[in-house]
């Protein structure tokens, strides 16, 4: 892509297309078209360790859609989606606003490529609202401050953290950030987390992540199901708890071919 170096004084924001990029690799695995050859190359190299990752990535997306529909059914109309990623089919606001057009969604990411796509392509119904904020998952105060422009924290909010907590390397720090975000919400709010784990094919996943972390995009970590449970401490987990994404309240149509995938997910209610 960028065959020539940036000119001195160039004001081009820092979109680096010379190295692979986690959101674009994810887009490649999901069958999107917003990736470059370098992402396909690294994405394929990761798949050489764990070919099932494509299925896991897609199961994670389906989990997102089912979780949002579940939350809408519980009366939730406000969503704080942290770690937006590149737009794909059935983004959070599309699922939510299809069922409840007045839903308000704040997308959070710190990547200029993701943000510019989100602003252009993740657009709200006239009845609802979408906002896009530039913040790092490591900085919950900034997220909460900016999200308050669009969300009413006096009403229940769903905090959506899909495939993002794995970018917080330290588990204590991750638990602290999740706790801080939930502290800002009222009872009746929800937390949704999905996370790659060592529960399925631990050895291959560990090798794959070791390789990933050498490729220049943001480093990430795997966790066990037990560690994920800790993020939901003190909350009321919706059935069936923290499970492989493909088995979290599957739609009837999906039952036939359900296989365990490495991404686990859960939904819990603040009491």
């Amino acid at each position: 892509m960028s065959t020539s170096p940036e000119a001195p004084g160039s004001e081009t924001p820092k979109i680096d297309s010379s190295v692979s990029h986690s959101a674009r690799i994810w887009n490649y695995w999901l069958g999107g078209k917003d990736h470059y050859p370098v992402d396909q190359e690294v994405g394929d190299q990761v798949l050489a360790f764990v070919p099932e990752l494509v299925r896991s990535a897609r199961a994670d997306r389906y989990f997102l859609a089912r979780a949002v529909r579940y939350l809408i059914a519980q009366g939730i109309r406000q969503f704080l989606d942290i770690g937006t990623g590149l737009p794909t089919v059935d983004n959070t606001h599309e699922v939510a606003q299809r069922a409840a057009p007045e839903s308000r969604i704040v997308y959070v990411d710190n990547d200029p490529l993701v943000l510019v796509h989100a602003r252009a392509l993740l657009t709200s119904t006239p009845e609802g609202a979408c906002d896009y904020i530039n913040a790092d998952v490591h900085d919950p105060e900034s997220i909460l401050r900016q999200a308050a422009r669009t969300l009413d924290f006096g009403q229940p909010v769903a905090i959506m953290m899909l495939g993002i907590v794995n970018f917080i390397m330290d588990t204590d720090q991750a638990a602290g950030i999740v706790r801080r975000l939930m502290e800002a919400t009222v009872p009746g709010s929800y937390l949704v987390i999905s996370h790659p784990t060592t529960e399925v094919d631990a050895k291959a996943m560990t090798e794959a992540v070791g390789f990933w972390n050498q490729q220049g995009s943001a480093p990430m970590t795997l966790r066990t199901r037990e560690e994920l449970l800790r993020f939901f401490d003190g909350m009321e987990l919706a059935e069936p708890g923290v499970v492989t994404c493909s088995r979290w309240r599957p739609d009837v149509m999906e039952v036939g071919e359900t296989a365990d995938v490495t991404h686990f997910g859960g939904v819990a209610r603040k009491t």
Binding site: M1, A7, T12, I15, K33, Y36, T123
Partner: protein
């Protein structure tokens, strides 16, 4: 001209297209490629079977040329497709793709290099564009479009100008139909300040852009002069994306007497990167209406 009137006028000007002719062609081509690859048949062998050149198969599989019933029937046989129902479906698609293009009634003012674009544009679900000299064709008012066409080279003025204007407005249906495409355009400030057709025409054009920018499926970003150098300094470009996952993006680069179409991932990824950088460098979408108002107030 307001958005509603633009819609009404194009409704009169353009008949319904041969219902998705070009997307059917794209899908048919992609299916033929999958069948060929699944059967392990080389493009060379496929070419021989239909008595055509190597490039012909590639154009067919990319949906860039028309299909003959006999060719497709022979290819299906070669690929081992014997199921009558499957063959009938594919052959019905062929007949469908041979329906007239929406632009046929303007065929006399459509140069050969433009034909494919006119089909592909209507089949796209996302159209990304950067324009440096003019307001993008999909967002032009009738008067502005007429002025653009009249300011062209004298050799092209002899063509029926009003028909060319109507053809251009006909393209805009892609943004206003029941399931419209999304247009994501970055427009250089230069294009917005150049009073093509004079002050009155340009003011109306800018007002129309302000209205169009409020459509849910239209994103307009202004690349201000103050942004300085940028990665598309060479000129405008358009990228078309289709909903079918197997169809690659197509980049369209129009020149004065011809156009370039790119669809190899190595090429299109370069332009995708350019478009991404432009979008990141341009003003945010929220600022567009204010910027357009400011430019409008400066045009006398």
């Amino acid at each position: 001209m307001d958005v509603a009137r633009a819609r009404a006028s194009e409704g009169r000007d353009v008949r319904q297209p041969g219902a998705g002719r070009s997307s059917a062609r794209l899908v048919l081509g992609a299916r033929l490629r999958r069948l060929r690859e699944a059967a392990g048949v080389s493009p060379e062998t496929a070419c021989k079977t239909i008595r055509a050149s190597r490039s012909k198969i590639s154009r067919l599989e990319l949906g860039r040329t028309g299909f003959k019933l006999r060719d497709v029937a022979d290819l299906l046989t070669l690929y081992g497709v014997r199921d009558d129902a499957e063959r009938a479906t594919m052959l019905a698609l062929v007949e469908h793709t041979n329906a007239d293009s929406w632009w046929q009634e303007y065929a006399d003012v459509v140069p050969a290099w433009l034909e494919e674009f006119l089909d592909l544009e209507q089949a796209a679900t996302l159209i990304r564009a950067y324009e440096v000299a003019y307001v993008p064709g999909l967002l032009q008012t009738k008067d502005y479009a007429r002025a653009v066409l009249w300011s062209g080279h004298p050799a092209t003025r002899g063509m029926d100008a009003e028909r060319r204007v109507r053809l251009r407005l006909g393209r805009q249906r892609v943004l206003h139909r029941a399931e419209p495409a999304r247009l994501w355009a970055v427009i250089d400030e230069t294009a917005l300040r150049r009073p093509v057709g004079g002050g009155a025409v340009m003011r109306a054009q800018l007002r129309y852009l302000i209205e169009a920018s409020r459509l849910p499926n239209v994103n307009i970003q202004v690349l201000p002069l103050s942004a300085g150098g940028h990665p598309a300094a060479g000129g405008g470009l358009t990228m078309l994306r289709f909903s079918e996952s197997e169809l690659p993006d197509v980049v369209y680069l129009e020149q004065m007497l011809t156009a370039v179409y790119l669809n190899r991932p190595a090429d299109t990824a370069y332009y995708l990167d350019v478009l991404n950088r432009l979008a990141a460098q341009a003003e945010e979408l929220d600022a567009t209406a204010i910027t357009l108002e400011r430019i409008l107030s400066g045009i006398t």
